[in-house]
């Protein structure tokens, strides 16, 4: 029994999706000439500005392609569903956004992405383009605290890319942009749960099996298993478990401020996400933490997976300023 999808041939899904995206957002986005999957901002890359290239597998929309635009990423390299893009489109993005001030690669910390982006960086070096890389590692459930560097990047990309994009837009130099991007990552903490699997357009089969009364805790965004499986709990208990861990890691002082992202994985209604946000706020209020801004919605998805994540970015004045800096992308706007 195949899962139900509105697709044509599964192998064409990514390219057809990009056709549809470019048709809808031609004011914001264009393909790099001669490529299919290197998407560049119409307004963004410019001389003297550090170019920001993001990317990864498809299936997380609006991440990554929706975050390309003035004030955020200059280009995104798009892979197959849940598969890193190969070096070619990454290199094409790199060349397209190079303004002579260097290029920053940002993407989630996955073995496949690391290998492909690193190969692209080696090729870019042959073109005398200086490339730096900042991996996102916000998923606190994916490895213990003392191995933060081996954690994977999930919905926190949203904040981390946003802040780095703002730093680029303000024409800071590559060292400074890199510093800020690393800081943004270090200040961002995500935890997720999944209730039901997604399926790939090619396999049309659930990516994993899960019991009718179970949830997967500390889930990734590709249908990978999480750190544990447990009985499905009420919303407040789920959020409490997330916030306990996030607060323990973030270790905020009373009066500190955060930015919040309550993110749906694809098939969870806004109703449920806002019910979660209610509890997130109660917990932050109880801890004396202020909320600078909140986004609730499907920002980093896993196709039609059911589930959600909560991300807190621990703010200081610098991160707040970059977060508030305007951006104008096809699927995300600030200011």
């Amino acid at each position: 029994m195949r899962t139900k999808k509105i697709v044509n041939a599964g192998d064409h899904a990514v390219d057809e999706m990009l056709d549809g995206i470019l048709a809808a957002h031609s004011g914001h986005l264009a393909r790099v000439a001669g490529t299919k999957r290197a998407i560049v901002a119409r307004d963004g890359p410019r001389d003297g500005k550090v170019g920001l290239v993001i990317g990864g597998g498809s299936g997380h929309e609006p991440t990554f392609v929706g975050f390309v635009g003035r004030g955020l990423a200059d280009a995104a390299a798009i892979g197959n569903v849940f598969a890193s893009p190969p070096p070619d489109p990454i290199l094409a993005c790199t060349q397209a956004v190079n303004g002579g001030a260097g290029v920053l690669y940002m993407y989630g910390n996955y073995a496949g992405d690391v290998m492909n982006f690193d190969m692209a960086a080696e090729m870019a070096a042959m073109d005398d383009i200086e490339v730096r890389t900042v991996l996102t590692t916000d998923d606190i459930a994916s490895a213990p605290r003392d191995r933060r560097d081996s954690r994977r990047g999930v919905a926190g990309n949203f904040f981390i890319f946003k802040v780095a994009g703002a730093a680029c837009d303000r024409m800071l130099d590559l060292d400074e942009v890199e510093r800020i991007a690393r800081k943004a990552n270090a200040h961002t903490f995500t935890m997720g749960v999944a209730l039901a699997p997604c399926s790939l357009p090619q396999t049309r089969r659930p990516n994993f099996e899960i019991g009718a009364e179970e949830m997967e805790i500390g889930m990734g965004i590709h249908g990978e298993p999480g750190v544990a499986r447990g009985p499905l709990e009420p919303a407040d208990s789920i959020v409490d478990e997330m916030m306990d861990r996030i607060l323990a890691e973030m270790a905020p002082a009373k009066g500190d401020r955060v930015a919040l992202l309550v993110n749906g994985l694809g098939a969870t209604p806004l109703m449920e996400l806002y019910i979660m946000n209610r509890r997130v706020r109660q917990r932050l209020d109880d801890a004396g933490i202020g909320v600078h801004a909140t986004w609730v919605g499907n920002w980093c998805t896993s196709l039609e997976m059911t589930g959600a994540s909560v991300t807190c970015m621990h703010l200081d004045g610098e991160l707040t300023a970059f977060l508030d800096h305007p951006c104008d992308c096809a699927m995300f706007r600030v200011g």
Binding site: G112, L200, G220, H222, P225
Partner: protein, 211 residues
């Protein structure tokens, strides 16, 4: 036995066919401890490689075939297996550079070249529950069989058997590389999909050796 460039083309096509056939099963395996796309990526990669090498002229040398396969694999796939197999094929090409036809020793060196490419690119060691756990014993078994005086089909058979045992052994391993790394103990009990596909790759190569 001698392997010509046209034999390599046929071997790559055989691998592509087998992966296409087993695509679904590899996705299923990847679903258990990964993201369920390994079969898609492998079939796509070797399919692209096959198309590229089939398009080469008859004058292409073995190393040119392997380089063309590497390039096609690299730009056609992405994922983890893209850079890994692209590097494997590139290194295999380097290992037979300048030869018009491969003798038994060259063919066994080709297997070792692939293994080295995977190791260099992925920076994994055997025991970390990756495709290397099939490739490393396979290359060693082929070398040992050759030293023991076996012919190439026998060397490849030894490689296939060693790969199979290696893949099976990943069941007992906790992943410390790749996507499954974050699972910790939950990766136990499942075969690594990359190791499973490695068995298919080596077995298809063996089957398609010139008669």
């Amino acid at each position: 036995m001698e392997i010509a460039a046209s034999d390599l083309v046929r071997m790559i096509a055989a691998v592509a066919d087998d992966l296409e056939t087993n695509k679904d099963e590899l996705c299923r395996l990847d679903g258990l401890i990964g993201d369920a796309d390994h079969g898609i990526a492998m079939a796509l990669g070797f399919g692209a490689a096959r198309d590229a090498v089939t398009a080469l002229g008859p004058e292409a040398e073995p190393s040119a075939v392997l380089n063309a396969a590497a390039k096609a694999f690299l730009s056609g796939v992405g994922a983890s297996c893209g850079p890994l197999y692209a590097t494997a094929l590139m290194r295999a090409g380097a290992s037979v550079k300048g030869k018009a036809r491969l003798d038994d020793g060259d063919a066994v060196a080709l297997l070792r070249g692939m293994e080295t490419g995977i190791r260099d690119r992925g920076k994994a060691e055997p025991g970390q529950k990756t495709m290397l756990d099939a490739w490393a014993p396979a290359a060693s078994a082929a070398e040992a069989a050759l030293s023991a005086g076996n012919d190439l089909p026998q060397c490849f058979d030894a490689a296939v058997m060693a790969a199979r045992d290696g893949a099976e052994a990943t069941r007992q391993m906790v992943a410390t590389k790749g996507r499954a790394e974050r699972l910790g103990d939950r990766s136990l009990g499942h075969v690594d999909p990359g190791a499973a596909s490695a068995v298919m790759v080596i077995a298809a190569m063996a089957r398609a050796l010139p008669a």
